[in-house]
């Protein structure tokens, strides 16, 4: 993968937009697929899992390609990504809590 932007060398002055449009089409098709699933599949845990998975794929492409985190130094990448494990903890804690509130109401 060309993570070092060729434009940065200053030599080429032609637009380097191939990766950008490829990422756009990936995001577009995943979103279109989400619509198809929303109308053809009965709601349930499996559908939720598929939606969450597709959302994470879209998030990966936005952060890695558009925000260019993929091309940054590894230390920077991990110092942004590792703190997000707290979000995972919060999801587990609060969803369990929500279920518990439902039980006692």
């Amino acid at each position: 993968m060309a993570h070092q932007s060729p434009a940065g060398t200053g030599g080429a002055h032609k637009p380097q937009t191939k990766v950008i449009w490829r990422t756009f089409w990936i995001l577009f098709f995943i979103t279109a697929l989400e619509f198809v699933i929303a109308f053809t599949m009965a709601s349930g845990p499996l559908r939720v899992a598929i939606f969450v998975g597709m959302t994470l794929v879209k998030a990966f492409y936005i952060v890695a390609e558009f925000m260019h985190l993929k091309g940054e130094v590894k230390t920077l990448m991990w110092s942004i990504l590792i703190p997000l494990v707290f979000v995972v903890w919060l999801i587990i804690a609060l969803l369990v809590e929500g279920g518990a509130i439902y039980e006692v109401r």
């Binding site: 932007s5 434009a7 940065g8 080429a12 002055h13 637009p15 380097q16 937009t17 950008i20 449009w21 990422t23 756009f24 995001l27 577009f28 979103t31 989400e34 619509f35 929303a38 109308f39 709601s43 939720v48 939606f51 969450v52 597709m54 959302t55 879209k58 998030a59 936005i62 952060v63 390609e65 558009f66 925000m67 940054e72 130094v73 230390t75 920077l76 110092s79 942004i80 703190p83 997000l84 707290f86 979000v87 919060l90 999801i91 609060l94 969803l95 809590e97 929500g98 279920g99 509130i101 439902y102 109401r105």
Partner: protein
């Protein structure tokens, strides 16, 4: 106790030391101050949005879910959490049609598209191509403003409600009273439990505020580009920094779209 060690350094060692990573003046993350601070701000903002969306999950899980076996055919009710695609099924100029998620799909497309034009502006900045940066920043601005307009319409529709409204039982002076209500506010909600409307206003509102400030920042960047500030400076890094913010706004929408509209 040992005697303090005397460190003797020869001049050649002094010059070696200068290149040590502990002597300061390094850029271990190979990114400018502004870009780093933008990343860490976005990390903190990610926590804020996560908290809001997870709160949505908590409150939704603490309410009964719609179950066709118990509740029969779907109708708006205070008894259970609504199905989002039944709530968001209106499109401007197509009054009376049931078009679930079509409008929010258009909004999603607009925001992804403006993210693409933003990254094209950043790419043009790497080439120091002022005209291209101006062009793509204008498209990005247009996308942002279109999204805000769509959101304003969606809020208006959500607040005004459907033609039928919904019958809601409430306790007034010790008696049960049935009222017909239309739309939603922070205390009443025709589509379901009031918390659903509260979360809608909070989450999409907080995201919309981000889009608005993003549009303002993009406008500033466009202005600075147009008057040649970055050309004189010799680089277009500001476009990149504000671009990070704009992509983050798009990223948040991807999650809002999934957890508020799809699931």
């Amino acid at each position: 106790m040992s005697a303090p060690t005397v460190v003797t350094t020869t001049p050649s060692e002094m010059t070696d030391r200068k290149t040590s990573i502990w002597d300061g003046g390094n850029e271990p993350l190979k990114a400018s101050y502004g870009k780093l601070m933008m990343w860490f701000f976005l990390l903190s903002d990610a926590f804020t949005f996560s908290a809001l969306l997870i709160t949505y999950g908590l409150i939704r899980f603490s309410h009964p879910a719609y179950n066709p076996k118990i509740h029969g055919p779907f109708a708006f009710s205070q008894e259970y959490w609504p199905i989002p695609e039944r709530v968001f099924d209106a499109v401007p100029f197509l009054h009376g049609y049931h078009l679930p998620l079509v409008f929010v799909g258009i909004m999603t497309f607009v925001l992804i598209m403006s993210s693409v034009t933003m990254v094209l502006a950043v790419e043009a900045g790497h080439r120091n191509d002022r005209n291209d940066v101006e062009k793509w920043m204008l498209w990005t601005l247009l996308g942002g403003i279109t999204f805000l307009g769509c959101q304003a319409w969606e809020w208006t529709h959500f607040i005004h409600g459907t033609e039928e409204g919904a019958m809601v039982r409430s306790m007034v002076n010790g008696n049960w009273v049935e009222n017909q209500i239309f739309g939603a506010s922070l205390i009443i909600n025709q589509y379901g439990p009031p918390a659903f409307a509260d979360l809608f206003f909070f989450i999409t509102g907080f995201h919309g505020t981000h889009v608005l400030s993003g549009v303002v920042l993009n406008g500033l960047i466009f202005y600075n580009t147009a008057v040649g500030v970055y050309e004189r400076r010799g680089h277009y890094e500001m476009v990149e920094k504000v671009g990070l913010y704009w992509h983050f706004v798009d990223l948040v929408w991807v999650f809002v779209f999934t957890f508020f509209y799809l699931v």
